[in-house]
């Protein structure tokens, strides 16, 4: 879940940690703590789904990789199917 939020944030463009936190809070209403965010960043970088890019200051910018985009697309498609099915069943009940 946290990884998907970070990938969704980076799908819009490169961001540093605090910008991700603000973006995720704005579009998902979830405030990730600094430890939680960097745990997700660590795992995503280990998978090769994000990578650091050159920054002009001490704050590290991250970008989503092509395999990260593919992973996010697959994950969100699966989620979309679950949401669609759940809503349809609620409407039919």
């Amino acid at each position: 879940m946290r990884e998907r939020l970070v990938l969704s944030s980076l799908a819009e463009g490169d961001k540093h940690g605090y910008a991700m936190m603000q973006d995720i809070e704005a579009f998902a209403g979830i405030r990730l703590g600094p430890g939680t965010l960097y745990g997700a960043i660590t795992r995503l970088e280990q998978h090769g789904w994000i990578r650091p890019v050159a920054s002009t200051d001490r704050r590290q910018l991250y970008t989503i990789t092509p395999s990260g985009r593919l992973h996010l697309k697959t994950a969100l498609s699966g989620l979309q199917h679950v949401v669609k099915t759940g809503l349809a069943r609620l409407n039919n009940a």
Binding site: G17, G35, I41, Q60
Partner: protein, 132 residues
């Protein structure tokens, strides 16, 4: 970054800090400090330690796993007997037949039932009639 956050970063694994400490510290300077951030840093450090591979953690995990598995395996009782015949060669066939008869007797339903229920052996204490 306040001093508390700075000291909490030191709780993270050294290998992780080597890669992320500088940028993590830079981010913490922007994040509003509060009790939730402190707890989040503590949780993050704990999770990071658990996710980093190390021999002591592997040994502890495997030990606990082995302990857990040992509780799921039902105890088995096994006994082995090796009869050695020292008699005359001409008596050998009679001895074999005697041993076969003895084996059939020992492994008979009545004999095994007596062994299982013998209070001196106490083979299945959890299934004794007194605990029904």
């Amino acid at each position: 970054m306040n001093r508390l956050a700075g000291s909490l970063i030191r709780l993270y694994p050294a290998a992780w800090r080597k890669r992320y400490e500088a940028e993590f510290a830079a981010m913490l300077e922007e994040v509003p400090q509060g009790s939730s951030a402190v707890f989040d840093l503590l949780e993050g450090a704990t999770r990071m330690h658990l996710s980093m591979p190390s021999f002591p953690k592997l040994a502890l995990t495997l030990s606990l796993l082995g302990l857990g598995v040992s509780f799921t395996i039902a105890p088995r009782y096994e006994s082995t007997t090796v009869p050695i015949y020292h008699g005359e060669r001409s008596d050998r066939q009679a001895a074999i037949e005697g041993l076969q008869a003895m084996e059939a007797n020992v492994l008979s339903r009545t004999s095994l039932s007596n062994l299982i229920q013998d209070p001196r052996l106490n083979l299945f204490p959890d299934e004794s009639p007194s605990k029904t």
